[in-house]
């Protein structure tokens, strides 16, 4: 932030405008998903961008700026929740309940049935409603993966959870959403994140810190 606008300050300002600002829609969607409330989402987006501006030196060029903004957004949200004295544990309890109620589901069996038509013809409002009914942490992970297109590893960093947790929430969240839309529970077998994790060599390597 030099005195003269040719130094690092000005360069950073241009870089910030170029790299961070285009993600405002995505940050807004994620803030909506976190807060479930339009006014709170507005505040959260503003806070996210102000924090990002101050911390922009710590953003590594070439990495995913959107994921970096999501992380700031989520941390800000958590801090707000803590400051407000509310408990995040509610969602964890909800997760347990859903985990047990979602013991069975098979994608293949599911799409073969008549429910597939209902799924594929869902309107935007129906899709939004189904997503909004998910417990918050499930919804967040589904939004990050299926709307914003983040990789598991990026989601894990944004949410501050292990990849296994991301996967179990993502798969269960997706299934819950599909059940809501089709009005029918799925087939015979379900797959937990841990189980899938044990199937994937690539993800196992990642969890062990061996990279890609």
């Amino acid at each position: 932030m030099g005195l003269w606008p040719f130094g690092k300050g000005r360069r950073n300002a241009t870089r910030f405008d170029r790299e961070a600002m285009p993600h405002i829609d995505a940050v807004y969607r994620f803030a909506r998903s976190l807060t479930h409330d339009a006014a709170q989402a507005d505040d959260l987006v503003q806070e996210t961008y102000l924090k990002a501006l101050k911390a922009f030196d710590s953003f590594q060029e070439g990495t995913n700026c959107r994921a970096w903004l999501f992380r700031i957004c989520r941390n800000s949200f958590i801090n707000k929740v803590r400051a407000g004295g509310r408990e995040v544990a509610l969602d964890q309890a909800a997760e347990q309940v859903h985990a047990t109620s979602l013991s069975g589901w098979s994608e293949r069996a599911f799409y073969r049935g008549p429910e597939a038509a209902a799924l594929l013809s869902a309107t935007r409002d129906e899709l939004e409603a189904a997503l909004n009914e998910l417990p918050r942490d499930f919804r967040n992970v589904v939004v990050l993966a299926d709307v914003e297109g983040l990789a598991y590893k990026e989601i894990a960093e944004v949410m501050g959870t292990p990849i296994g947790t991301v996967m179990s929430r993502l798969f269960r969240g997706r299934r819950m959403m599909r059940e809501k839309l089709s009005g029918a529970p799925g087939g015979a077998r379900g797959v937990g994140g841990g189980e899938v994790l044990s199937l994937s060599k690539r993800l196992k390597d990642r969890e062990n810190g061996n990279g890609l």
Partner: protein
């Protein structure tokens, strides 16, 4: 790989989270099993619908504007505390010297090589003062190389915060530093070249900065600021702006 195993892998497959060998196995099965292929195709279509529908939610215009405004304010605030370090000021003066030099070059006769050499040495002989308007003027009383005239008195939103006695190219100059609502505007003042009797004003734009030069037969000022043109014009006496 059979159908049961495939259904376990299909999420990972579609998420792009499988290793090459696993992906190859999945694709081999999909090639020969139409049921799994249909299921995966349906899933792909459903995901596309989810993505397209939910991506339509966009930040409201009011929010965009609010974020933009708060970022502008925050930048102003971030800049201000760093206003006084001499290093930054030196950079400013150097920039101004370069630009002022260019302006002189454009408006008047080109300086010769000896003058350029003098300019190159200017930094060592500079002296400067930061403080209140009164302190800055007291400093100039004792140090200005010519009969200076503060270009703009303090007023609402415009504050003289420093001055430096230096050279612009061949010319002794006083550089005044203003704080304008958290932004810096520098005004370099030097004695006009002979035969430049008429008041004149020249607006220019260099490296995204507005550069305004105005003067009469006695003094010439070059204003450089990271400000929109109308704001820079506040520095120019009415007699020059038209």
């Amino acid at each position: 790989m059979d159908c049961n195993v495939l259904s376990r892998y299909s999420d990972l497959y579609l998420d792009g989270e499988l290793a090459l060998e696993e992906r190859t196995e999945v694709e081999a099965h999909l090639k020969q099993c139409s049921e799994c292929r249909d299921a995966v195709t349906a899933e792909v279509r459903f995901r596309q619908r989810v993505r397209e529908s939910l991506l339509a939610a966009r930040a409201p215009t009011s929010l965009r504007e609010q974020v933009a405004r708060r970022i502008r304010e925050e930048r102003g605030r971030l800049d201000r505390p760093r206003f006084f370090p001499t290093l930054s000021y030196a950079v400013a003066v150097l920039m101004l010297a370069v630009m002022g030099y260019a302006v002189i070059f454009l408006m008047e006769s080109p300086p010769d090589a000896a003058d350029s050499a003098v300019a190159a040495h200017m930094a060592s002989s500079d002296s400067e003062m930061f403080g209140t308007s009164a302190q800055v003027q007291a400093f100039l009383e004792g140090n200005a190389p010519f009969r200076y005239q503060v270009p703009l008195e303090d007023r609402e939103g415009v504050k003289l915060v420093g001055a430096r006695v230096t050279r612009l190219g061949p010319r002794p100059a006083v550089v005044y530093l203003y704080d304008v609502a958290g932004r810096r505007v520098s005004v370099a003042q030097y004695q006009s070249a002979p035969a430049r009797g008429r008041p004149r004003l020249k607006m220019d734009r260099r490296s995204g900065l507005v550069v305004a030069t105005y003067g009469d037969d006695r003094l010439t000022q070059t204003v450089v600021g990271d400000l929109p043109e109308p704001e820079v014009k506040r520095f120019i006496p009415a007699s020059f702006s038209q």
